[in-house]
C-alpha cells in the first residue's frame, strides 16, 4: 500500500514539475528563443517582422497600440511572429512601466496536430446549386485577376462599396 501511494504521488509530482517548467519564462524571450526551424509550406519568410520598407512605418513586429486613456502608461507589445514546425506563435504582453500585467496569445495556430485540427475546423463546403449573385449572400468573390478597370465593373467592387460605411 505504501508503494502504491508513493508511486501515485511521485507520478503526479513529476507531471506537475515537467509541465510547470514549460509554463514559465518571459513570453517575449520565450518567443524569441523558439526555433524557427523550417518554414511551413506557404511562407517564404515572416516578412512583416522587419523588412517592410524602411522608414515608412514602425516595425510591425513591435507595435505599440495607442492607449486612449492618457493617464495609464500601459503599453501593449506584440512579440515577433515566429514560425515553428507546427505553425505561428506570437504573444502579446501588456506592460505597465516595467511590470508585465497580462500575457496572452495573438497567434497559437498549432503546437500539435490536434491544435491544427481545432483551429482549421472542418473542410470547406462547395455550394453548386443555381446561384444568383443576389441570393448567394457572399462576402467576397474569387475569380481570374481583374484589372483596375475591370474591378470597377466587378461584383467585388459592389460588395466593397456596400461594406464601406
Amino acid at each position: 500500500m505504501k508503494r502504491v501511494v508513493f508511486s501515485i504521488t511521485g507520478t503526479v509530482l513529476g507531471l506537475v514539475a515537467l509541465l510547470s517548467f514549460k509554463s514559465h519564462g518571459h513570453p517575449l524571450t520565450t518567443a524569441a528563443a523558439l526555433p524557427s526551424a523550417g518554414l511551413p509550406a506557404a511562407s517564404a519568410s515572416p516578412a512583416p517582422k522587419g523588412t517592410v520598407p524602411t522608414g515608412a512605418s514602425p516595425n510591425p513586429g513591435t507595435r505599440t497600440s495607442a492607449s486612449s486613456a492618457a493617464a495609464s502608461a500601459s503599453r501593449t507589445l506584440a512579440g515577433d511572429a515566429i514560425d515553428t514546425p507546427y505553425g505561428i506563435v506570437q504573444v502579446q504582453v501588456t506592460v505597465t512601466g516595467s511590470k508585465i500585467d497580462n500575457v496572452s496569445f495573438l497567434q497559437l495556430t498549432a503546437f500539435d496536430g490536434r491544435s491544427q485540427e481545432i483551429n482549421s475546423a472542418a473542410a470547406p463546403i462547395l455550394l453548386q446549386e443555381t446561384i444568383s449573385a443576389q441570393n448567394s449572400q457572399i462576402d467576397t468573390v474569387s475569380g481570374a485577376t481583374y484589372t483596375t478597370d475591370g474591378y470597377v465593373q466587378s461584383l467585388q467592387s459592389a460588395l466593397d462599396k456596400a461594406g464601406i460605411r
Partner: protein, 456 residues
C-alpha cells in the same frame, strides 16, 4: 523404478568464458535512462503549455509516452534473456514485471482520462461528445480503446484476489491478451501522437525499440528452446522416487555443457507426452549440471508434477533456460550458510555440491516438518564428508518465538559465526519470511542474504 545412472558421472567442467550477467542496478539504470529519454521526446516537442486544457493534454501525452515505453520494458523483462535471468534473477524479474504491470495499466488509464478531458476543455465541448468524437473521427483510437479494455481486464485478473481463485492456466491464457493489446494500441501512437506525427526520427527509434524487444522475445522464448531441443536432444533416462511425494527425473542428451547451466539454476521443462506437452513448468536442478546428465527433483503437488512419476525413459524434453540468479556468482564471502526448507533443498543440493570451498567453510541446514520429508539424505551426507562441510537436519513443526528451529538464537547456536557468512536461502514462502527475519535479527546484513523464491 530405480535410477539407471550406473557409471561415475563425468567431472563438472566450468564454462569456458564467464557467462554474461546484467545486474539489477544496470537494468534499473537502463530503464530509468530510457524513461528520461522518452520524457525528453515530449520536452523538445513542446514549446509552451498554457491553460488548463493544455496542462491536461500534455499530462496525457506524457503518461501515454511512458505507458508505451513501460509496456516494452515489461515485455523485455519477460523475454527470458539469459543475461537478465542470471544477473537480475528470474524471481526478481517476475516481481518487477508484476509491479510494473500494475503501474502501466494505471498509466494507460490516466492517459486516456487526461486526453479526453484535455481535448474537451480546449474545444469547449462536453466529455461525452469529446469521447465519441475521439472514437469516431481519430484514426486508430477505437483500436487503442479496445487495447485499454484488454489491459484493464488483464490487470483485474492478475490482482492477487483474483489469482487465488483462478487456475494458473486460466490466468496465463488471459495474460496472453496483452500481446493483442500492445498490437492494437501501437498504430494510434503514430497516427494521433503529437510527438510522433511530424517526427519521422522519433517514429523510427520507437519502432526500433519495439522490433528489438519483439526479436528478443521470439528468439529466447521460441527459437532458442527449439534450437536447444534439436541440438541437445534431451530425453528422460530414468525416474527415481525419493520419498512418498518427491520424485527425481534424470535427463540426458548431447553437449549439455553448452546449455550454460549453473548450480542453483532452473529450467522450464516441457515434457513431450500427450498430457504434458502444453505446459513448461519450472523445476530447479537438484545436482550440479554434467555434460551428460541433468537431474531435477520435484515435489508432486499437482496434476503436472504427479505425472512425472510415470515418465518413460526416452521421452523427449524441451528445456527452456537456464534461468535464475541463485548461483555461486552471488557469493560475497568465504564462509557460507546454505539454508533449505522442504523442497527448497533442490537448488541448495546443487550448490552444496559445487560451491567452491575449503573444509569448514560451508554449513547446510535442512529444515523439514517431518522426518519423512527429508530427501537426498545420503547424497548430502556424502558431499559433507567429501568436502569437509557440516549438515544439520532440523525436523519438526514450526514453533513460536525463540523455540522455533529457525529463530535467531537457535541459528546462532548452530552457526556461531553466522554474522560473517553469506546465506543462500530457499524454501516455501512462510519459511523464507521467518528465516530471513531471524537472519536479520542475528545481524546478517541484507546484501549477504541471497534468496530464491519459487512462488512468482
Amino acid at each position: 523404478m530405480t535410477a539407471t545412472v550406473s557409471r561415475r558421472p563425468a567431472p563438472v567442467r566450468a564454462p569456458a568464458t564467464a557467462p554474461l550477467r546484467v545486474s539489477s542496478n544496470t537494468a534499473l539504470w537502463t530503464i530509468a535512462i530510457g524513461a528520461v529519454a522518452v520524457i525528453g521526446l515530449w520536452w523538445q516537442d513542446t514549446f509552451y503549455v498554457h491553460g488548463f486544457g493544455d496542462w491536461l493534454t500534455n499530462a496525457g501525452r506524457i503518461t501515454g509516452l511512458l505507458a508505451g515505453y513501460a509496456v516494452i520494458v515489461l515485455l523485455a523483462l519477460m523475454a527470458r534473456v539469459p543475461a537478465l535471468e542470471r544477473g537480475v534473477g528470474t524471481d526478481r524479474l517476475a516481481r518487477w514485471h508484476a509491479m510494473g504491470g500494475r503501474y502501466t495499466v494505471s498509466l494507460s488509464v490516466a492517459h486516456t482520462v487526461l486526453i479526453i478531458w484535455g481535448y474537451a476543455v480546449i474545444a469547449h465541448t462536453g466529455i461525452v461528445h469529446q469521447t465519441s468524437s475521439l472514437l469516431t473521427s481519430y484514426p486508430d483510437v477505437l483500436m487503442a480503446t479496445v487495447a485499454l479494455g484488454l489491459l484493464v481486464a488483464v490487470g483485474v485478473v492478475s490482482a492477487r484476489a483474483a489469482r487465488r481463485r483462478l487456475s494458473y492456466e486460466t490466468w496465463h491464457f488471459v495474460h496472453l491478451y496483452t500481446y493483442l493489446a500492445i498490437a492494437l494500441a501501437f498504430s494510434h501512437q503514430f497516427s494521433t501522437g503529437a510527438d510522433f506525427m511530424h517526427n519521422p526520427k522519433a517514429r523510427m527509434l520507437w519502432s526500433a525499440m519495439y522490433v528489438v524487444v519483439a526479436a528478443l522475445l521470439i528468439w529466447y522464448r521460441v527459437c532458442a528452446p527449439i534450437r536447444s531441443a534439436v541440438r541437445h536432444d534431451l530425453r528422460v533416462v530414468g525416474v527415481q522416487r525419493e520419498s512418498a511425494d518427491v520424485v527425481s527425473v534424470y535427463l540426458s542428451g548431447r553437449q549439455l555443457e553448452s546449455m550454460g547451466a549453473e548450480s542453483g539454476q532452473f529450467f522450464r521443462w516441457r515434457f513431450l507426452t500427450r498430457d504434458l506437452w502444453w505446459a513448461a513448468n519450472p523445476y530447479s536442478l537438484s545436482a550440479a549440471p554434467r555434460p551428460d546428465m541433468l537431474r531435477i527433483t520435484v515435489k508432486m503437488s499437482g496434476g503436472h508434477s504427479a505425472a512425472l512419476l510415470h515418465l518413460q525413459p526416452g521421452t523427449r524434453v524441451i528445456a527452456e533456460g537456464p534461468s535464475g540468479g541463485f548461483t555461486a556468482a552471488r557469493r560475497t564471502r568465504r564462509k557460507v550458510l546454505l539454508l533449505a526448507g522442504g523442497v527448497g533443498i533442490t537448488p541448495i543440493r546443487a550448490l552444496f555440491e559445487t560451491l567452491p570451498t575449503t573444509p569448514g567453510d560451508i554449513t547446510l541446514i535442512y529444515r523439514t516438518a517431518k522426518a519423512d520429508d527429508i530427501v537426498l539424505r545420503h547424497e548430502l551426507d556424502n558431499i559433507a564428508r567429501q568436502r569437509g562441510a557440516y549438515v544439520h537436519y532440523l525436523v519438526g513443526p514450526p514453533r513460536r518465538g525463540a523455540n522455533d528451529h529457525l529463530s535467531a538464537p537457535k541459528l546462532q547456536r548452530l552457526v556461531p559465526d553466522l554474522r560473517d557468512r553469506d546465506v543462500f536461502l530457499c524454501g516455501p514462502a512462510p519459511m523464507m519470511v521467518a528465516a530471513e527475519a531471524s537472519l536479520r535479527q542475528a545481524g546478517v546484513p541484507r546484501r549477504h542474504i541471497h534468496l530464491e523464491s519459487f512462488a512468482f
